[in-house]
Symmetry: C2
Subunit: 337 residues, 2 copies
DNA sequence: ACTTGGCACTCTGGATACAAGAGTGCCAGG
DNA sequence: CCTGGCACTCTTGTATCCAGAGTGCCAAGT
C-alpha cells in the first residue's frame, strides 16, 4: 500500500516543509533528495499520499503540506529520534548540575529545553508522592496561626500556613512537633495518610482540635495540591506566522495551569517519549500545536513530566532527542541530591 | 503656552486613541467631546501641540497620535488615577485573602493585576531584608551535604543545599543548629551579616570548616539572591497589532529576570506610583512599552515592587488605579500573615 | 505495470491603477 | 481669535492583470 518510495516522499515533504515553511512541490523533492525518478513519478506518489490523508495542498496547484496524520506516520516510522552528540550531552549535564535548589533545577531545565529545541518548554515539578518525610517543622506565626514546613528526603520543602480553631501554647506546639516527627519520619508520603489517621490518640485531649486542623492540612494540601505546579518557558519562540488562529489563544492556554496539566497528563503514563500531534491534543486552542513529552524521575518510576510544545510543523527528531536527553539528566540530578 | 483648551484637546486625543487605536482627527474630537468650537479651531490647536512634540501624524493627512511626551503630559497633568469602586476593592481584597502561601499570594496578585488591567503583570517577590529570622533548620541530605532552611517572621521560607568541605556528624549538626538559632532568632536579616561574622568562636574547632561553609551560604544566598525572583503573567494580553517591531522582542524581554529587575528597578524607590513611558524605559526591546509600577510592603517601607506593562497606548488612569489598589492590598495581606 | 515527458489548467502573489474617504493646512472674513 | 471653505495629500479597498509555480492527466516508452 505504501511502498518505500512513497514513504521516502513523505519523509522528504515533512523534512522540507519543516525547514522551509513552504508547501513542497514535486520538483523540489527530486532536486533536494536524490531519488532517481522524475517529478511526474513523485506527483503520482503524492496523489496517493494525498488520497490517504497524509498530505494536502493548501490550494490547487500549490505544493503539498503534511497533515497531522502525515506527521504521525513520520514520527512513528520515519523520523526516529535524533541522538545528541557527546559534547551536547556534556553541556546539558553541566548546565543542570550547577543548580543548587529544586526551584533552580526546574528553572534551568525549562530554559535548557526551550533553548535546545527553540520551542516552548513545559516542566512539571516532581511529585512528592514517592518521597519520604525527612522532617516536619511547626513555627508559630501568631497564637492561632502556624506555619507547617515539610522537608522530604529529596530535599524538597513544602510550606503551608494553618489557621487554628483556638489558641495554641508553645508547649503544645512542641508536643505536636515531636509526635509528628516521631510518627512520620522516614515514611513515604503515600503512607502518611493512614498514619495521620491514627495520631489523635497520642495527643493531649485539650489540643485535639488544633491538632486535627494541622493533620487535615497535611493531608489536603501537601499530599494533593503540589503536583499541579508547572513552569513554562521560551514563549518567545512562538512565531506568529506559525499559528493561523493567532498565537493569542496559545499564550492563553499556556497560562492556565489546568490546561498544562491536561496537556502533559494526556501523554501516556510511561516514562518513555510521547508525541501528540495537532488535533490529537484535546485541549482547545492547542489543536494546531504538537507536544513532545516524557516522564522523568530519579528511579525507574516517573515523578513528573516535561516536554516541549510547538507548531505541528516541528522538527520532531530533534525535539524528541532533546526531551529524552533532558529528562534523563534531570532524573539523574534529582537522584543525586 | 498651552491653554486649557489645548490640554483638553490633548486629553481627547489620548483618550480616543487609547480606546479606538486609530489616529484621531479634528472632526471626531468635536463630535465626541463637547468642546464648543469648530474642527478648524481644533486643527490650529493640534498644529501647536504637534510643533511642541506632544502629538504626531503617522502620515500626512491622517489623524494625530500622542507621542511619548504627549502621554507623559497626560499622565502628569491630565489623566489622574481612576479610583476603584468599593465593590471592586472588595473583590480584590477577597481574591487575595484566599491565599494560603507566599507563592500563592504572588501568583494571585499577578493574575489579578493582569485581569484588572488587561495588560502584562509583573510582580517581584517581597524582599527578605526587613524580615526577622524566626527559625533555622538544618537537615542532612548526605554526610557532606546539608539542606539549610530559613523561616522568617513573615512566614517566608528559604531553602538552600550546602556542600560541605568534609563529613559532618549528627551531633555537629545539632550543635550548629542550636548555635544558629540561639544567635539569630529574632534578628533582622540586615543584622545577620554582622552576627554571623562573630559566630566561629562558639563552634568546636574541628567543625569550623563545615560551619564556615554554612555561614557563607547564609550570607551569600539568603541575603542577596532571593530578591531577584519575579513572576510574570498575562502575556496573552499582548496584542500583536500594538507592537510594530513584533511582540517577539517583548516576549523575550519578559523571560529575562534581569531585564525585569531593571524594569522595576528603574522606577523610583518610593512606594508611590511610577510611570515610565516608551523610550523612558532604557531596556532595549521595551522602548515602545510603558510600565506602571508601585512599591508594596507590609509597613511604610516598600518590600518589593509590582506593576503592569503594556503598549504606550495604554489606559493609564485605570492601570494606575489598579496597580495602586493591588499594591495596597497585597501589603495588607502580607502584614497579616 | 510502472515510469516519463509534455501540456493544458488553476491558483497565488505581486504590481498597477483607480476611486473614495478622511484629514489636513491655509486663507480670508466675521 | 474663531470659523467656513477649499485645494491638496495620503491611505485603503477594489479590480485587473501577469508571471510563476505546481498540479493532473494522457499517451508513449521501458
Amino acid at each position: 500500500m505504501l511502498d518505500d518510495r512513497k514513504l521516502a516522499v513523505l519523509r522528504a515533504i515533512v523534512e522540507d516543509y519543516v525547514s522551509t515553511n513552504e508547501p513542497v512541490g514535486s520538483k523540489s523533492i527530486v532536486d533536494r533528495h536524490n531519488l532517481d525518478v522524475s517529478p511526474a513519478t513523485i506527483r503520482n506518489d503524492m496523489a496517493v499520499l494525498e488520497e490517504q490523508g497524509f498530505i494536502v495542498q493548501p490550494h490547487t496547484s500549490a505544493g503539498r503540506v503534511p497533515t497531522d496524520k502525515g506527521y504521525r506516520l513520520f514520527v512513528d516510522r520515519l523520523g526516529g529520534v535524533k541522538p545528541f552528540s557527546a559534547a551536547e550531552r556534556r553541556a546539558i549535564e553541566t548546565f543542570l548540575a550547577g543548580a543548587y535548589d529544586l526551584d533552580d533545577v526546574v528553572t534551568r531545565t525549562v530554559r535548557l529545553l526551550a533553548q535546545l529545541t527553540r520551542q516552548v518548554a513545559v516542566v512539571q515539578y516532581p511529585s512528592l508522592t514517592r518521597s519520604a518525610v525527612r522532617h516536619i517543622e511547626l513555627v508559630p506565626l501568631t497564637d492561632r496561626r502556624l506555619l507547617l514546613i515539610l522537608i522530604t528526603d529529596t530535599g524538597r520543602v513544602e510550606q503551608r500556613a494553618i489557621d487554628l480553631p483556638g489558641p495554641i501554647s508553645e508547649d503544645a506546639i512542641t508536643q505536636l512537633r515531636a509526635v509528628l516527627n516521631a510518627c512520620l519520619d522516614g515514611r513515604r508520603l503515600t503512607e502518611v495518610a493512614s498514619v495521620v489517621a491514627d495520631l489523635p490518640e497520642r495527643i493531649t485531649p485539650g489540643e485535639r482540635a488544633n491538632a486535627a486542623a494541622v493533620f487535615s492540612v497535611i493531608l489536603e494540601s501537601l499530599i494533593e495540591r503540589h503536583e499541579e505546579k508547572i513552569v513554562v518557558g521560551g514563549a518567545a519562540n512562538l512565531t506568529p506566522a506559525d499559528f493561523s488562529q493567532g498565537l493569542h489563544e496559545v499564550l492563553e492556554a499556556l497560562e492556565e495551569q489546568v490546561v498544562l496539566m491536561r496537556l502533559l497528563g494526556e501523554s501516556g503514563d510511561e516514562a518513555s517519549l510521547t508525541v501528540r500531534i495537532g488535533a490529537e491534543n484535546q485541549v482547545k486552542g492547542l489543536r494546531s500545536t504538537s507536544v513532545v513529552a516524557a516522564g522523568y524521575g530519579s528511579g525507574d518510576h516517573a515523578l513528573a513530566k516535561l516536554g516541549v510544545l510547538g507548531p505541528t510543523r516541528m522538527d520532531y527528531p530533534t525535539a524528541m532527542g532533546a526531551v529524552r536527553a533532558v529528562a534523563r539528566y534531570v532524573g539523574q540530578i534529582l537522584a543525586e541530591s
